[in-house]
């Protein structure tokens, strides 16, 4: 790899990292604003114009609070726990194609940090590591309620990973590739996977909610009826890191869903637009930049959906949650795999 490419990759990774953190920060603000809108309140409006500086104020407060570590806690693991949660959350955006290819000065620039032919498996692997942050943090607190909360969270994550993986298999059967870029490229124009995989998308969506610990599956931290969960003993920025990692997870889950099912950076009539501009380089760049905007619009729509559901649906009971995961979603996902396989064979047979 040339040094220019290396520098470009480094800059791109830093930019994506920055955007991820920025979106996660402002998700907290928009969550409160949307909650206020749904409940007919005003929401945060003191810090800055329309309360826009509220996330900074919250972060400042969390940073300057006393950094408390329980006496009998396992100190090293207690500190590492939130770090692992944060690290794992920021890792998965590396393989997501946020845009197609830009041509600058005759050089092709792909708007994706790393292109590997196992992209989907990479995302899945990173998601499966997310459990460690919660479990280590909960155990290291040396508090029975924290431990029980950690185990509650971990069992939920493990259970829903299975259905998530099975619903992904149907997409992989259709596209025949594990590379996220290739999956995105195959959904050219309006040929999105959602039209072929509505059931798979529904299963994936439910599992994504469960993996992100969002309502109606936010039992790991149901503060009202169960103890706070794995972060009972946490305070100051360590607690902030856990909450922040959760918002990053929402962003990443939205990005993965847009890539797998909603056509990533593809939008309707993109080929017509490309044909309408005579200069091929300019046409490519215009379409790519519009594609990036479309991609982020899809991601924001999903993030909004996450928040909308939070203030609409009540929480499940724990046995209902487990029943939904194991007895409904997994059989449905297997049915979806069988149906997809049958449809692919039927298509070969008919056409």
């Amino acid at each position: 790899m040339e040094s220019v490419d290396l520098i470009y990759k480094a800059i791109y990774i830093l930019v994506i990292f920055g955007i991820t953190l920025l979106i996660a920060t402002y998700s907290t603000y928009f969550e409160r604003k949307i909650a206020a809108f749904i409940q007919d309140r005003v929401g945060p409006n003191r810090a800055g114009p329309a309360g826009l500086l509220q996330p900074l104020a919250d972060a400042g407060k969390l940073f300057f609070k006393e950094d408390f570590i329980p006496t009998k806690a396992n100190k090293a693991l207690f500190i590492i726990g939130p770090g692992i949660a944060m690290l794992v959350a920021t890792m998965s955006s590396a393989v997501i194609p946020f845009g197609d290819m830009l041509i600058v000065g005759g050089r092709e620039i792909w708007l994706q940090a790393i292109e590997v032919n196992i992209g989907v498996l990479y995302v899945f692997g990173v998601v499966s590591l997310g459990v460690y942050g919660l479990m280590i943090g909960g155990w290291a607190s040396n508090n029975k309620f924290s431990l029980l909360g950690a185990i509650r969270a971990a069992s939920q994550n493990i259970s829903y990973e299975l259905a998530m993986g099975l619903s992904l298999i149907a997409v992989l059967m259709m596209t025949g590739s594990l590379s996220l870029r290739e999956i995105a490229e195959q959904q050219q124009g309006f040929n999105w996977n959602i039209w072929y995989q509505p059931l798979g998308f529904l299963i994936f969506l439910v599992c994504a909610f469960a993996e992100c610990n969002r309502t109606p599956f936010d039992l790991p931290e149901s503060e009202a009826e169960l103890i706070g969960g794995y972060h009972t003993e946490y305070g100051s920025m360590k607690l902030g890191m856990y909450l922040f990692a959760e918002y990053i997870n929402i962003f990443v889950a939205s990005a993965v869903m847009s890539t797998l099912y909603f056509g990533a950076y593809n939008f309707p009539f993109m080929e017509n637009l490309r044909a309408a501009i005579s200069d091929p380089v300019l046409a490519n760049n215009v379409v790519t930049i519009l594609g990036v905007i479309v991609m982020f619009a899809k991601i924001f729509a999903f993030i909004f959906f996450f928040m909308w559901v939070r203030w609409t649906l009540p929480r499940f009971r724990y046995d209902q949650l487990m029943k939904l995961g194991w007895q409904i979603l997994i059989p449905l996902a297997i049915l979806n795999v069988v149906l997809t396989g049958g449809a692919i064979l039927l298509k070969d047979y008919l056409f």
């Binding site: 396992n74 693991l77 590997v116 032919n117 196992i118 498996l121 990479y122 899945f124 692997g125 499966s128 590591l129 459990v131 460690y132 479990m135 280590i136 155990w139 431990l147 950690a150 185990i151 971990a154 493990i158 990973e161 594990l178």
Partner: protein, 170 residues
């Protein structure tokens, strides 16, 4: 590339040693997870990306989480009493380890180190497409048999877990 290999190899050995040496079982498990990561690093150096990803998903993501579950529930290593080993155990452990070492040296002394054919080596052999083709054509029967074995193990686990007093075995 070579330096990277030596770095990874020494890290793997160090973490693997720490698994055995650590007094706290939870620390042992975390070191074991890091060991799996470094082994995945070796797979990537060998251009076997699929194996690397699956190693992380299956071992680090699933099996080690279950290990962590069990150890957290048992709350092992909290009592100082559990950690003390008697002199007899230490002596037998040393002798058994030494004997294993002798056997290993005896076995590896005359072992032939295979060389690889750099001219005809296909660097794409570990890619997911090639692996899938080989698994589903040349090794189809062993692959299917392994999956049947997994199914049997799963059904067996469910049956054992279901067994309660007064409840009928399936």
């Amino acid at each position: 590339m070579e330096n990277l290999f030596y770095f990874l190899a020494s890290l793997t050995l160090l973490c693997a040693l720490m698994v055995v040496i650590s007094k706290n079982p939870v620390h042992s498990i975390i070191f074991l997870v890091i060991t799996f990561f470094t082994i995945s690093g070796h797979y990537i150096l060998l251009n076997a990306q699929f194996l690397a990803a699956v190693n992380i998903i299956v071992y680090a993501g699933a099996i080690m989480v279950l290990f962590l579950f069990v150890i957290m529930f048992l709350n092992m290593g909290k009592n100082e009493r559990d950690l003390k080993t008697s002199a007899l155990t230490k002596i037998t452990g040393t002798i058994a380890g030494g004997l294993l070492f002798v056997v290993m040296i005896a076995a590896l002394k005359d072992a032939h180190v295979g060389t690889y054919d750099a001219e005809n080596f296909n660097s794409q052999i570990g890619m997911v497409e090639n692996l899938g083709k080989v698994l589903y054509t040349k090794y189809l029967l062993p692959f299917e048999l392994a999956s049947v074995l997994f199914l049997v193990a799963m059904v067996g686990a469910v049956m054992l877990g279901k067994k309660e007093t007064g409840e009928r075995h399936f």
